[in-house]
């Protein structure tokens, strides 16, 4: 910004270059529109414009019964549909005071953690793509994610919008032989994570592009409500799975990876390490699934008593909250969704001011937004 001030002599004048990055742009992760003001290639100011993917999901929720809304939660953060399903279903179950059995808890934990692995894989792949590693890491990540998606396909019949969690249970029981598939996947994925490290994490060009780029301080992160890997990369140890254990996370042993500086590389590394931790959780859970019937009937009409509930869960991108107000009818009076990507995106202008365009793309990729849950 000082450079701009210097140029303001009366006879010699320079203008800022306004670049509209998006809504059609290869690296804005969907339909985000960033209005960038550039001085040469330095970003002077950035204004994100939202709303290109707005489907008024919160309003739709007011006109749907509690069960009917589950497929809509798939469309929030479409890379982590299972986690969204879970957040909503847990909130409704809390509202109803509905207990679920042990098998359901275990199945949910395994599935949600698998989805977290898949989501982080996409995030790593697209981040590398944004840095100009032409599609190779992206394809490796999608190749590995495919195994998870195939499993989900077998489990619930869909590859992206799962609609798997049900109020009081899940849609289908685990298919036979799933233990072996998941154990094989864990072995496979651990090997592949080493490959990612060789290809990307400690690559000199990758390090020079991401280290000390877009440093997010702990205070700024908390002020903007940044959660998830972006918050943990600043060194702040906050994970709802540990702080307010929902499901049965308190039974498993796992660590919370934290970064040191809060730069783009830390955010990437935290995601990579979270995959390891998720694999640990799955490994512990898959051997201990108890017997029981996890399938919930859907033709039941739920009529919760008038009241309200707020429940937050740890999504791959941060803290997903559902605030549901019931007026005693079959449909909620209000359903407010607190989506992690929205808060994470709001810190972007703060981060990219003063960097150049290449770094702006890098920071945007490292924050890992999904437009589906920003616009809702």
């Amino acid at each position: 910004m000082e450079q701009v001030e210097q140029n303001k002599s009366p006879e010699l004048r320079s203008e800022e270059l306004v670049v509209n990055m998006g809504p059609q742009h290869p690296s804005t992760h969907g339909v985000l529109y960033l209005e960038l003001r550039l001085d040469g290639e330095i970003v002077v100011d950035c204004r994100p414009h939202l709303g290109y993917l707005h489907r008024s999901i919160e309003k739709i929720a007011e006109n749907r019964t509690y069960i009917q809304f589950v497929p809509f939660t798939d469309r929030l953060d479409y890379l982590a549909s299972m986690n969204n399903n879970l957040g909503y279903v847990l909130a409704v179950e809390k509202l109803l005071g509905l207990p679920v059995n042990e098998r359901v808890q275990y199945i949910r934990t395994i599935i949600v953690e698998l989805n977290r692995v898949g989501s982080h894989l996409v995030s790593i792949g697209t981040f590398a793509q944004d840095l100009g590693a032409y599609a190779t890491p992206l394809f490796y990540c999608f190749r590995d994610r495919e195994k998870i998606v195939e499993l989900f396909d077998e489990l619930c019949g869909s590859r992206l919008t799962y609609n798997y969690m049900r109020i009081g249970g899940v849609q289908n029981d685990l298919p036979p032989g799933v233990d072996k598939i998941i154990k094989d996947f864990i072995q496979y994925e651990r090997k592949k994570l080493d490959e990612y490290n060789e290809l990307l994490t400690y690559n000199a060009i990758f390090l020079s592009r991401t280290k000390k780029v877009g440093i997010l301080s702990k205070e700024t992160a908390i002020n903007y409500g940044v959660t998830g890997p972006c918050l943990r990369a600043t060194g702040f140890k906050w994970d709802l799975r540990k702080e307010e254990p929902y499901l049965i996370y308190d039974r498993f042993k796992f660590d919370i990876p934290v970064g040191t500086m809060g730069d783009s590389w830390d955010r990437y590394k935290v995601r990579l390490e979270e995959i390891q931790e998720s694999l640990k959780i799955i490994e512990q859970a898959i051997g201990a699934v108890p017997e029981g019937n996890p399938v919930a009937k859907v033709n039941k009409v739920y009529k919760p008593a008038a009241g309200e509930v707020y429940l937050r869960t740890e999504n791959p991108r941060g803290e997903l909250g559902f605030y549901i107000v019931s007026d005693g009818t079959t449909k909620p009076y209000r359903n407010k969704i607190r989506s992690p990507s929205f808060s994470n995106l709001s810190v972007l202008p703060e981060l990219i001011r003063g960097l150049n365009v290449s770094d702006a793309v890098c920071v945007l990729g490292s924050i890992d937004i999904v437009m589906g849950e920003i616009d809702r």
């Binding site: 619930c156 019949g157 400690y202 000199a204």
Partner: protein, 157 residues
């Protein structure tokens, strides 16, 4: 003095390690399919297009009620047959443009009459072909059939 040189060589080494990974993958078999020529069979409970077995339908309207996007339409009339009152479907249509393929109708159906088949290549040239598909018509997906790998088998669950 020596640190920059060391850093330089380590950086070059890291790039070479990366190249080792890609050359290893160059000689590993592809994981994708040669798609239009080879097709992967769909999973048993894959959620494709909505399909109906008309004789099994008891006109309970459960699927209409549960559908989150109102993609199904059903109407019936009562006819007298052999001095017995009987319900008969007059119109049962499915709007594939609205459907979100959540599979809730399949789950609520008490007689497994309505189900989601395994069709996944469902693109057509006109929107009109998808707006109101008559579920009572046994040949409703005929224009899509020749592009579908395995014929729909009703889900046993």
């Amino acid at each position: 003095m020596f640190r920059p040189i060391k850093v330089f060589f380590l950086s070059a080494l890291s790039l070479l390690i990366g190249m080792k990974v890609t050359i290893k993958n160059l000689f590993s078999p592809p994981v994708t399919l040669d798609y239009p020529n080879k097709k992967q069979p769909m999973k048993k409970n894959f959620r494709g297009m909505v399909d109906l077995k008309p004789p099994a339908c008891v006109i309970c309207y459960q699927c209409i009620k549960i559908c989150p996007t109102a993609a199904l339409f059903l109407s019936h009339k009562t006819v007298e047959q052999d001095a017995k009152k009987k319900n008969e479907i007059t119109k049962f249509t499915f709007n594939a443009e609205l459907c979100c393929f959540c599979g809730l109708c399949e789950e609520v159906c008490p007689t497994d009459a309505i189900y989601l088949n395994q069709m996944y290549e469902v693109s057509v040239f006109s929107h009109d072909d998808l707006l109101s598909i008559d579920l009572m018509d046994p040949k409703k997906y005929k224009h899509l059939d020749d592009r579908t790998v395995n014929q729909p088998e009703p889900n046993p669950q």
